[in-house]
Symmetry: C2
Subunit: 194 residues, 2 copies
Amino acid sequence: MKTEPFSFMINSPGFIPSYFDNHIKRHLSDMKGQFNNKEAFQEVLEAGDKLLYEVYELKRPEIEGEILHGISIVHPGKIGEEYYMTKGHFHTVLETAEIYYTLQGEGMMVMETPEGDWAVEELKTGGVLYVPPRWAHRSINVHSDQDLVMFFAYPGNAGHDYGTIETQGFRKLVLSKSGKPQIVDNPHWKPPEK
Amino acid sequence: MKTEPFSFMINSPGFIPSYFDNHIKRHLSDMKGQFNNKEAFQEVLEAGDKLLYEVYELKRPEIEGEILHGISIVHPGKIGEEYYMTKGHFHTVLETAEIYYTLQGEGMMVMETPEGDWAVEELKTGGVLYVPPRWAHRSINVHSDQDLVMFFAYPGNAGHDYGTIETQGFRKLVLSKSGKPQIVDNPHWKPPEK
Protein backbone atom coordinates (compact mmCIF):
# COMPACT_ATOMS: atom_id res chain seq x y z
CA MET A 1 0.00 0.00 0.00
CA LYS A 2 1.33 3.41 -0.92
CA THR A 3 1.36 6.10 1.77
CA GLU A 4 1.99 9.03 -0.57
CA PRO A 5 -0.15 10.30 -3.45
CA PHE A 6 -0.12 7.91 -6.40
CA SER A 7 -1.59 7.53 -9.85
CA PHE A 8 -2.22 4.78 -12.35
CA MET A 9 -3.58 4.48 -15.87
CA ILE A 10 -6.73 2.72 -17.07
CA ASN A 11 -6.21 2.30 -20.77
CA SER A 12 -8.43 0.73 -23.40
CA PRO A 13 -8.76 -1.81 -24.86
CA GLY A 14 -8.11 -3.95 -21.77
CA PHE A 15 -8.77 -1.36 -19.05
CA ILE A 16 -6.56 -3.28 -16.63
CA PRO A 17 -5.10 -0.69 -14.25
CA SER A 18 -1.36 -0.15 -14.69
CA TYR A 19 -1.10 -0.57 -10.92
CA PHE A 20 -3.29 -2.53 -8.50
CA ASP A 21 -3.09 -4.54 -5.26
CA ASN A 22 -5.77 -7.23 -5.64
CA HIS A 23 -7.21 -9.04 -8.63
CA ILE A 24 -10.45 -10.83 -7.74
CA LYS A 25 -11.97 -13.32 -10.17
CA ARG A 26 -15.57 -14.50 -9.74
CA HIS A 27 -16.53 -17.69 -11.52
CA LEU A 28 -19.95 -19.19 -12.03
CA SER A 29 -19.34 -21.53 -9.09
CA ASP A 30 -19.02 -18.49 -6.79
CA MET A 31 -22.58 -17.47 -7.71
CA LYS A 32 -24.50 -20.54 -6.59
CA GLY A 33 -28.16 -19.76 -5.95
CA GLN A 34 -27.91 -16.28 -7.44
CA PHE A 35 -29.27 -16.97 -10.93
CA ASN A 36 -32.97 -17.42 -11.48
CA ASN A 37 -32.84 -20.48 -13.73
CA LYS A 38 -31.26 -23.23 -11.59
CA GLU A 39 -31.28 -25.80 -14.41
CA ALA A 40 -29.53 -23.48 -16.83
CA PHE A 41 -27.02 -22.69 -14.06
CA GLN A 42 -26.18 -26.39 -13.55
CA GLU A 43 -26.00 -27.03 -17.26
CA VAL A 44 -23.59 -24.17 -17.94
CA LEU A 45 -21.56 -25.02 -14.83
CA GLU A 46 -21.10 -28.63 -15.91
CA ALA A 47 -19.78 -27.44 -19.26
CA GLY A 48 -17.04 -25.48 -17.44
CA ASP A 49 -16.71 -22.99 -14.59
CA LYS A 50 -16.83 -19.74 -16.53
CA LEU A 51 -15.29 -16.46 -15.45
CA LEU A 52 -18.17 -13.99 -14.96
CA TYR A 53 -16.45 -10.89 -13.64
CA GLU A 54 -13.19 -9.48 -12.35
CA VAL A 55 -12.30 -6.72 -9.93
CA TYR A 56 -9.01 -4.86 -9.69
CA GLU A 57 -8.65 -3.17 -6.31
CA LEU A 58 -6.27 -0.58 -4.94
CA LYS A 59 -5.60 -1.10 -1.26
CA ARG A 60 -6.23 1.67 1.23
CA PRO A 61 -6.75 1.63 4.99
CA GLU A 62 -10.34 0.54 5.58
CA ILE A 63 -11.27 3.57 7.61
CA GLU A 64 -13.42 6.69 7.30
CA GLY A 65 -11.89 9.40 5.16
CA GLU A 66 -10.18 6.99 2.77
CA ILE A 67 -11.75 6.09 -0.58
CA LEU A 68 -11.51 2.50 -1.75
CA HIS A 69 -11.46 2.26 -5.52
CA GLY A 70 -10.75 0.12 -8.53
CA ILE A 71 -12.10 -1.32 -11.75
CA SER A 72 -14.81 -3.94 -12.24
CA ILE A 73 -15.12 -5.87 -15.49
CA VAL A 74 -18.30 -7.90 -16.07
CA HIS A 75 -17.93 -10.18 -19.07
CA PRO A 76 -20.77 -10.70 -21.56
CA GLY A 77 -22.90 -13.83 -21.38
CA LYS A 78 -26.13 -15.34 -20.09
CA ILE A 79 -27.35 -18.11 -17.82
CA GLY A 80 -30.63 -18.94 -19.45
CA GLU A 81 -32.25 -15.54 -20.03
CA GLU A 82 -30.29 -13.86 -17.24
CA TYR A 83 -27.24 -11.79 -18.02
CA TYR A 84 -23.86 -12.21 -16.33
CA MET A 85 -23.83 -10.06 -13.22
CA THR A 86 -21.99 -9.40 -9.99
CA LYS A 87 -22.92 -10.97 -6.65
CA GLY A 88 -24.38 -7.71 -5.44
CA HIS A 89 -24.14 -6.48 -1.88
CA PHE A 90 -25.13 -4.06 0.82
CA HIS A 91 -22.35 -2.17 2.56
CA THR A 92 -21.75 -3.44 6.09
CA VAL A 93 -21.86 0.18 7.21
CA LEU A 94 -25.21 0.75 5.58
CA GLU A 95 -24.97 4.55 5.55
CA THR A 96 -22.20 4.64 2.91
CA ALA A 97 -22.57 5.47 -0.78
CA GLU A 98 -20.76 4.23 -3.88
CA ILE A 99 -20.05 5.97 -7.16
CA TYR A 100 -19.41 4.46 -10.60
CA TYR A 101 -18.05 5.81 -13.86
CA THR A 102 -18.66 3.54 -16.84
CA LEU A 103 -15.56 3.30 -19.02
CA GLN A 104 -17.04 0.92 -21.57
CA GLY A 105 -20.12 -1.10 -22.26
CA GLU A 106 -23.83 -1.27 -21.61
CA GLY A 107 -25.37 -2.47 -18.41
CA MET A 108 -27.89 -2.05 -15.68
CA MET A 109 -27.43 -1.42 -11.99
CA VAL A 110 -30.10 -3.10 -9.91
CA MET A 111 -30.50 -1.51 -6.49
CA GLU A 112 -32.57 -2.05 -3.39
CA THR A 113 -32.95 -0.72 0.14
CA PRO A 114 -33.42 -2.84 3.29
CA GLU A 115 -37.05 -1.69 3.22
CA GLY A 116 -37.55 -3.21 -0.24
CA ASP A 117 -37.55 -0.02 -2.33
CA TRP A 118 -35.93 -0.73 -5.67
CA ALA A 119 -34.35 1.13 -8.58
CA VAL A 120 -32.67 0.18 -11.84
CA GLU A 121 -30.36 2.58 -13.68
CA GLU A 122 -28.78 2.16 -17.09
CA LEU A 123 -25.00 2.02 -17.33
CA LYS A 124 -23.53 3.60 -20.45
CA THR A 125 -20.02 4.54 -21.53
CA GLY A 126 -19.29 8.01 -20.14
CA GLY A 127 -22.00 7.80 -17.51
CA VAL A 128 -21.76 8.37 -13.76
CA LEU A 129 -24.04 6.47 -11.39
CA TYR A 130 -24.53 7.47 -7.77
CA VAL A 131 -25.64 4.75 -5.38
CA PRO A 132 -26.75 6.62 -2.23
CA PRO A 133 -26.17 5.22 1.25
CA ARG A 134 -28.43 2.24 2.15
CA TRP A 135 -28.85 0.89 -1.43
CA ALA A 136 -27.61 -2.62 -2.23
CA HIS A 137 -26.29 -2.79 -5.79
CA ARG A 138 -25.53 -5.34 -8.49
CA SER A 139 -24.14 -4.59 -11.94
CA ILE A 140 -25.34 -6.50 -14.97
CA ASN A 141 -23.79 -6.62 -18.43
CA VAL A 142 -26.57 -6.47 -21.03
CA HIS A 143 -24.28 -6.26 -24.08
CA SER A 144 -24.01 -9.36 -26.25
CA ASP A 145 -20.24 -9.38 -26.72
CA GLN A 146 -18.56 -6.45 -24.95
CA ASP A 147 -17.17 -6.21 -21.41
CA LEU A 148 -18.88 -3.82 -19.01
CA VAL A 149 -16.01 -1.85 -17.44
CA MET A 150 -16.54 0.52 -14.53
CA PHE A 151 -14.41 2.61 -12.23
CA PHE A 152 -15.81 2.53 -8.69
CA ALA A 153 -15.15 4.42 -5.47
CA TYR A 154 -16.64 4.12 -1.98
CA PRO A 155 -15.81 5.12 1.60
CA GLY A 156 -12.95 3.20 3.19
CA ASN A 157 -15.02 1.96 6.13
CA ALA A 158 -17.99 0.69 4.05
CA GLY A 159 -17.32 -3.07 4.10
CA HIS A 160 -19.26 -5.68 2.12
CA ASP A 161 -22.34 -7.57 3.22
CA TYR A 162 -22.91 -10.27 0.57
CA GLY A 163 -24.94 -12.54 2.85
CA THR A 164 -28.19 -10.56 2.85
CA ILE A 165 -28.49 -10.63 -0.95
CA GLU A 166 -27.39 -14.29 -1.10
CA THR A 167 -30.31 -15.09 1.19
CA GLN A 168 -33.06 -12.80 -0.09
CA GLY A 169 -32.00 -12.01 -3.68
CA PHE A 170 -32.88 -8.75 -5.41
CA ARG A 171 -36.51 -7.84 -5.91
CA LYS A 172 -35.98 -7.30 -9.63
CA LEU A 173 -34.18 -9.34 -12.28
CA VAL A 174 -32.96 -8.18 -15.66
CA LEU A 175 -33.69 -10.83 -18.28
CA SER A 176 -33.11 -10.94 -22.01
CA LYS A 177 -36.50 -11.01 -23.73
CA SER A 178 -36.51 -11.05 -27.55
CA GLY A 179 -32.90 -9.85 -27.40
CA LYS A 180 -33.65 -6.85 -25.17
CA PRO A 181 -33.12 -6.41 -21.44
CA GLN A 182 -36.32 -6.36 -19.45
CA ILE A 183 -36.86 -5.67 -15.76
CA VAL A 184 -39.04 -8.35 -14.19
CA ASP A 185 -40.08 -9.39 -10.69
CA ASN A 186 -37.85 -11.99 -9.06
CA PRO A 187 -40.15 -14.89 -8.18
CA HIS A 188 -37.64 -16.10 -5.56
CA TRP A 189 -37.25 -12.75 -3.79
CA LYS A 190 -37.69 -12.91 -0.02
CA PRO A 191 -39.09 -9.62 1.33
CA PRO A 192 -37.03 -8.23 4.20
CA GLU A 193 -38.31 -9.16 7.65
CA LYS A 194 -40.11 -6.33 9.41
CA MET B 1 -30.97 17.03 -4.46
CA LYS B 2 -32.06 13.54 -5.45
CA THR B 3 -32.78 11.04 -2.69
CA GLU B 4 -32.82 7.97 -4.91
CA PRO B 5 -30.05 6.53 -7.10
CA PHE B 6 -29.33 8.72 -10.10
CA SER B 7 -27.06 8.88 -13.10
CA PHE B 8 -25.79 11.46 -15.55
CA MET B 9 -23.60 11.54 -18.64
CA ILE B 10 -20.24 13.22 -19.13
CA ASN B 11 -19.81 13.41 -22.87
CA SER B 12 -17.00 14.79 -24.95
CA PRO B 13 -16.29 17.22 -26.45
CA GLY B 14 -17.68 19.58 -23.80
CA PHE B 15 -17.73 17.20 -20.79
CA ILE B 16 -20.47 19.27 -19.15
CA PRO B 17 -22.49 16.81 -17.06
CA SER B 18 -26.02 16.20 -18.36
CA TYR B 19 -27.20 16.88 -14.80
CA PHE B 20 -25.66 19.02 -12.06
CA ASP B 21 -26.63 21.24 -9.12
CA ASN B 22 -23.92 23.91 -9.00
CA HIS B 23 -21.76 25.54 -11.64
CA ILE B 24 -18.84 27.40 -10.11
CA LYS B 25 -16.73 29.75 -12.24
CA ARG B 26 -13.35 30.98 -11.02
CA HIS B 27 -11.95 34.05 -12.70
CA LEU B 28 -8.49 35.55 -12.45
CA SER B 29 -9.80 38.09 -9.91
CA ASP B 30 -10.68 35.19 -7.58
CA MET B 31 -7.03 34.14 -7.52
CA LYS B 32 -5.44 37.30 -6.15
CA GLY B 33 -2.06 36.59 -4.57
CA GLN B 34 -1.94 33.01 -5.86
CA PHE B 35 0.23 33.50 -8.92
CA ASN B 36 3.95 33.94 -8.57
CA ASN B 37 4.43 36.84 -10.99
CA LYS B 38 2.40 39.70 -9.50
CA GLU B 39 3.13 42.09 -12.38
CA ALA B 40 2.01 39.58 -15.01
CA PHE B 41 -1.12 38.96 -12.91
CA GLN B 42 -2.00 42.68 -12.88
CA GLU B 43 -1.27 43.07 -16.55
CA VAL B 44 -3.47 40.14 -17.60
CA LEU B 45 -6.20 41.19 -15.16
CA GLU B 46 -6.34 44.73 -16.54
CA ALA B 47 -6.81 43.30 -20.04
CA GLY B 48 -9.92 41.43 -18.82
CA ASP B 49 -10.98 39.14 -15.97
CA LYS B 50 -10.40 35.78 -17.62
CA LEU B 51 -12.18 32.56 -16.72
CA LEU B 52 -9.55 30.15 -15.38
CA TYR B 53 -11.56 27.14 -14.33
CA GLU B 54 -15.05 25.78 -13.78
CA VAL B 55 -16.53 23.18 -11.49
CA TYR B 56 -19.80 21.31 -11.93
CA GLU B 57 -20.99 19.85 -8.65
CA LEU B 58 -23.64 17.33 -7.75
CA LYS B 59 -25.21 18.10 -4.37
CA ARG B 60 -25.24 15.49 -1.63
CA PRO B 61 -25.66 15.80 2.14
CA GLU B 62 -22.32 16.95 3.52
CA ILE B 63 -21.96 14.08 5.92
CA GLU B 64 -19.83 10.95 6.36
CA GLY B 65 -20.79 8.10 4.09
CA GLU B 66 -21.85 10.33 1.19
CA ILE B 67 -19.48 11.02 -1.72
CA LEU B 68 -19.39 14.53 -3.15
CA HIS B 69 -18.51 14.52 -6.83
CA GLY B 70 -18.43 16.45 -10.04
CA ILE B 71 -16.32 17.68 -12.92
CA SER B 72 -13.56 20.28 -12.92
CA ILE B 73 -12.43 21.99 -16.09
CA VAL B 74 -9.19 24.00 -16.00
CA HIS B 75 -8.79 26.07 -19.14
CA PRO B 76 -5.41 26.44 -20.88
CA GLY B 77 -3.36 29.60 -20.41
CA LYS B 78 -0.55 31.22 -18.46
CA ILE B 79 0.08 34.13 -16.13
CA GLY B 80 3.71 34.89 -16.94
CA GLU B 81 5.38 31.47 -16.90
CA GLU B 82 2.77 29.96 -14.58
CA TYR B 83 -0.03 27.82 -15.95
CA TYR B 84 -3.69 28.33 -15.18
CA MET B 85 -4.53 26.39 -12.03
CA THR B 86 -7.11 25.93 -9.32
CA LYS B 87 -7.01 27.73 -5.96
CA GLY B 88 -5.94 24.56 -4.21
CA HIS B 89 -7.06 23.58 -0.75
CA PHE B 90 -6.79 21.34 2.26
CA HIS B 91 -9.92 19.57 3.38
CA THR B 92 -11.36 21.06 6.57
CA VAL B 93 -11.58 17.51 7.92
CA LEU B 94 -7.92 16.86 7.21
CA GLU B 95 -8.18 13.08 7.37
CA THR B 96 -10.21 12.79 4.15
CA ALA B 97 -8.95 11.73 0.72
CA GLU B 98 -9.92 12.73 -2.81
CA ILE B 99 -9.82 10.77 -6.04
CA TYR B 100 -9.58 12.04 -9.62
CA TYR B 101 -10.09 10.47 -13.01
CA THR B 102 -8.75 12.53 -15.90
CA LEU B 103 -11.21 12.60 -18.79
CA GLN B 104 -9.11 14.82 -21.04
CA GLY B 105 -5.94 16.81 -21.08
CA GLU B 106 -2.51 17.06 -19.55
CA GLY B 107 -1.79 18.48 -16.16
CA MET B 108 -0.03 18.27 -12.86
CA MET B 109 -1.42 17.88 -9.37
CA VAL B 110 0.68 19.73 -6.80
CA MET B 111 0.20 18.37 -3.30
CA GLU B 112 1.45 19.13 0.17
CA THR B 113 0.92 18.06 3.78
CA PRO B 114 0.62 20.38 6.78
CA GLU B 115 4.15 19.24 7.70
CA GLY B 116 5.52 20.56 4.38
CA ASP B 117 6.00 17.23 2.57
CA TRP B 118 5.25 17.69 -1.11
CA ALA B 119 4.44 15.64 -4.20
CA VAL B 120 3.64 16.35 -7.82
CA GLU B 121 1.82 13.81 -10.01
CA GLU B 122 1.15 13.99 -13.73
CA LEU B 123 -2.47 14.07 -14.90
CA LYS B 124 -3.14 12.28 -18.17
CA THR B 125 -6.28 11.23 -20.03
CA GLY B 126 -7.36 7.87 -18.62
CA GLY B 127 -5.37 8.26 -15.43
CA VAL B 128 -6.53 7.95 -11.83
CA LEU B 129 -4.90 10.02 -9.10
CA TYR B 130 -5.34 9.26 -5.42
CA VAL B 131 -4.82 12.15 -3.01
CA PRO B 132 -4.56 10.51 0.43
CA PRO B 133 -5.97 12.13 3.56
CA ARG B 134 -3.97 15.17 4.78
CA TRP B 135 -2.68 16.28 1.36
CA ALA B 136 -3.64 19.73 0.03
CA HIS B 137 -4.04 19.66 -3.75
CA ARG B 138 -4.07 22.02 -6.71
CA SER B 139 -4.59 21.02 -10.34
CA ILE B 140 -2.65 22.74 -13.11
CA ASN B 141 -3.30 22.60 -16.85
CA VAL B 142 0.05 22.32 -18.68
CA HIS B 143 -1.43 21.87 -22.16
CA SER B 144 -1.12 24.83 -24.54
CA ASP B 145 -4.66 24.79 -25.92
CA GLN B 146 -6.75 21.98 -24.43
CA ASP B 147 -8.97 21.95 -21.33
CA LEU B 148 -7.93 19.73 -18.43
CA VAL B 149 -11.12 17.85 -17.49
CA MET B 150 -11.35 15.69 -14.40
CA PHE B 151 -13.99 13.74 -12.56
CA PHE B 152 -13.51 14.07 -8.80
CA ALA B 153 -14.97 12.38 -5.72
CA TYR B 154 -14.38 12.93 -2.00
CA PRO B 155 -16.08 12.17 1.32
CA GLY B 156 -19.23 14.18 2.02
CA ASN B 157 -17.94 15.62 5.30
CA ALA B 158 -14.54 16.78 3.94
CA GLY B 159 -15.16 20.53 3.58
CA HIS B 160 -12.77 23.02 1.95
CA ASP B 161 -10.04 25.00 3.66
CA TYR B 162 -8.82 27.51 1.06
CA GLY B 163 -7.40 29.94 3.61
CA THR B 164 -4.26 28.01 4.55
CA ILE B 165 -3.05 27.81 0.95
CA GLU B 166 -4.04 31.45 0.29
CA THR B 167 -1.77 32.43 3.18
CA GLN B 168 1.19 30.08 2.78
CA GLY B 169 1.04 29.04 -0.89
CA PHE B 170 2.29 25.70 -2.15
CA ARG B 171 5.93 24.78 -1.67
CA LYS B 172 6.32 23.98 -5.37
CA LEU B 173 5.28 25.84 -8.51
CA VAL B 174 4.92 24.43 -11.99
CA LEU B 175 6.29 26.90 -14.53
CA SER B 176 6.67 26.77 -18.29
CA LYS B 177 10.39 26.75 -19.12
CA SER B 178 11.33 26.54 -22.81
CA GLY B 179 7.79 25.32 -23.47
CA LYS B 180 7.93 22.49 -20.93
CA PRO B 181 6.48 22.27 -17.42
CA GLN B 182 9.09 22.39 -14.70
CA ILE B 183 8.69 21.96 -10.96
CA VAL B 184 10.45 24.75 -9.08
CA ASP B 185 10.59 26.05 -5.52
CA ASN B 186 8.04 28.72 -4.66
CA PRO B 187 10.08 31.70 -3.43
CA HIS B 188 7.01 33.06 -1.60
CA TRP B 189 6.15 29.82 0.25
CA LYS B 190 5.67 30.23 3.99
CA PRO B 191 6.66 27.06 5.84
CA PRO B 192 3.94 25.85 8.21
CA GLU B 193 4.35 27.01 11.81
CA LYS B 194 5.63 24.29 14.10
